[in-house]
């Protein structure tokens, strides 16, 4: 609709302007010129974004691949032995720790945040929503280092008391901190997914005599399922890539975590702890870049899954 109006209007405008005097024509030419110019400026901006993405993949990938000049793929991916001083660069422990940390985080965060989303959309009165949504946004804005600091100064002493261990750091402390960090992300995105479920579904279910809980669990949850899963994956990308909050509470010891309360290390925390102490031209540095590249690939795959899911949802709609 807009394009029709636009073409007709610009044609009419052009014929009007062409018949007018020379000064007007100059103005017309200038307007047309800036119109074209800015179109290309905006296109250039978005291409800059693509360039940054290309730079990320190129620089991190290029350095990461160099790892395999000195050690084999199996050494890197299948060994748990990370002693760079002796030339062992097995990243398996970090990979597994990252996965289990993300898993535990989601176990804690998903029920709470999806519950919050249901509360906001289905149960709570309007004033409560108006109050809670900005507060959740506030939680997104708090710097990750502050979460880490709170975890270190408040959570870890508490955990030490509860568990009776000498050290509170480890997967559990990190998972609690991360869960609090990704809670608002998951809650707000699933909030939108749940609110997008058509009202008629709910009314049909109420007409059959369902209680509100039955409507929520048997009608709304399945209908909003894909959106909620997308929200969870979005939270996952945040949890996997988070660095500073994790570094402060995880203990930073390169070993595979067999216990919730033992100092350990994940991909991100290991990179940030070691990168500033290594030479550029060393296998150690390459291996750290390979770990970053791995993080990159994991988050790309997660984004791809969200995209495929949302496309399917659009097709079904």
């Amino acid at each position: 609709m807009s394009t029709e109006v636009q073409t007709i209007a610009s044609m009419e405008g052009a014929s009007l302007l062409k018949t007018s005097n020379r000064r007007r024509f100059n103005r017309y030419a200038r307007v047309q010129f800036t119109n074209k110019l800015f179109k290309y400026i905006f296109l250039f901006s978005i291409l800059m974004l693509c360039l940054v993405l290309a730079l990320v993949i190129f620089f991190i990938g290029k350095t990461g691949i160099l790892t395999f000049k000195d050690i084999t793929l199996a050494d890197f991916f299948l060994s748990m032995d990370w002693t760079p001083e002796e030339g062992h660069f097995g990243a398996l422990a970090f990979i597994l720790n990252t996965l289990s940390l993300t898993g535990i985080t989601l176990l804690i965060a998903v029920p709470i945040s999806v519950g919050m989303a249901f509360l906001l959309v289905e149960i709570a009165p309007e004033w409560f929503k108006q109050f809670v949504r900005p507060v959740l946004d506030l939680l997104v804005g708090i710097p990750s280092i502050v979460y880490g600091y709170l975890g270190l100064t408040v959570l870890i002493p508490l955990l030490r008391e509860w568990s009776g261990e000498n050290l509170g750091d480890g997967l559990f402390a990190a998972a609690l901190v991360l869960a609090l960090m990704i809670l608002p992300t998951i809650a707000r995105v699933s909030d939108e997914a749940i609110a997008a479920v058509p009202k008629k579904y709910r009314e049909a279910a109420y007409a059959l005599g369902s209680t509100r809980l039955q409507v929520m669990m048997r009608v709304v949850l399945p209908a909003a399922g894909r959106g909620i899963v997308a929200a969870i994956i979005l939270g996952m990308t945040r949890a996997i890539g988070e660095t500073m909050a994790v570094v402060m509470v995880i203990g930073n010891t390169a070993q595979f975590a067999t216990d919730l309360f033992m100092p350990t290390s994940v991909l991100t925390s290991n990179i940030v702890m070691q990168i500033s102490n290594v030479e550029f031209e060393s296998t150690w540095n390459y291996a750290l870049h390979m770990m970053a590249f791995l993080l990159l690939i994991i988050s790309f795959i997660l984004i791809l899954i969200i995209r495929l899911m949302s496309r399917k949802r659009r097709q079904e709609a």
Partner: protein
């Protein structure tokens, strides 16, 4: 008269329903309590002891009583440079996606790139900055390196918030403007951007708040030290920011009052982030209310 039969099954369903409602409220209130307790803990531990001296003095390596002057200054300096770089590009990209992008495969790829870029972990941008500035240009850890890397991190989010804000502008406004014979860019400049400005500014504040507290990028690109002077505008001096300072004090500093400095730094950090997030919204929010009352 009611056709509702009070069988056991119905009673059970009602009981579950009421219990669940109660539990949902309990959950919501505990989360809210947790959030406010957290904010209270950070702010109450640090804010009361903050003096002007603390905010402007140079940090001490050995003795107690150091301040956070240079790091606080660096935080704002890096934030502003990064915004100067990223806002025009990010907003431009958002405008392209909302107004120009045709519905084809090329646009699909662009969108994919923006989404992918926004999922890139911040530590990876730190490594990128390290590779470009420390390794390729050989200038070491500097303010400019930190600011550019931070700008990379801001870009995708800026593009997204701008696109959302512009998509919310009603189509009629554009058509009315086209009917007056304007070009596409004139419509964007005189109609779309003024209407979407509130959304765009809110988005920029969100991004600025996040960038102010970002530490993983800065720690790798701007370093763990300052030049030791207040008001150092040199782009090539090391640029430790407040968020990084909090990390440094907590993990490596040897001064005796490290814990109190960390408490105060955390409080200042949270206070500034809240301030950036809230203060810019208040005039817009008031404006919005006035518009609604009319």
């Amino acid at each position: 008269m009611s056709s509702f039969v009070n069988t056991n099954r119905n009673k059970r369903a009602k009981l579950y329903n009421h219990t669940a409602t109660g539990l949902f409220y309990l959950l919501g209130c505990s989360v809210l309590l947790l959030i406010f307790w957290m904010l209270y803990t950070i702010l109450s531990k640090g804010l009361p002891d903050i003096t002007l001296d603390f905010l402007t003095k140079v940090p001490e390596e050995m003795d107690a009583g150091g301040g956070i002057g240079p790091v606080l200054f660096n935080s704002f300096y890096i934030l502003i440079i990064s915004l100067v770089i990223s806002v025009p590009i990010g907003v431009g990209a958002g405008i392209y996606l909302a107004e120009y992008a045709p519905n084809n495969r090329f646009t699909e790829i662009l969108r994919m790139a923006v989404e992918t870029l926004s999922s890139v972990p911040s530590i990876v941008f730190g490594l990128l900055g390290l590779a470009i500035f420390a390794e390729y240009f050989q200038i070491g850890l500097t303010i400019i390196g930190g600011a550019v890397s931070l700008a990379f991190l801001n870009l995708p989010m800026l593009a997204r918030v701008t696109e959302e804000a512009i998509r919310a502008v009603p189509e009629e406004l554009r058509n009315a403007s086209y009917a007056l014979g304007t070009t596409k860019f004139q419509v964007i400049r005189t109609v779309v951007i003024p209407v979407a400005l509130q959304g765009i500014i809110t988005g920029i504040c969100l991004v600025a708040g996040r960038a102010f507290g970002e530490s993983a990028v800065i720690i790798l690109t701007a370093g763990l030290s300052t030049s030791g002077e207040m008001w150092d505008f040199n782009l090539f001096s090391p640029g430790e920011t407040l968020a990084v300072h909090l990390w440094y004090v907590q993990s490596e500093a040897i001064v005796e009052d490290a814990a109190s400095i960390a408490d105060k730094s955390a409080a200042v950090l949270v206070f500034v982030v809240l301030f950036i997030n809230l203060i810019f919204r208040i005039p817009l929010w008031l404006n919005n209310r006035r518009m609604k009352q009319r």
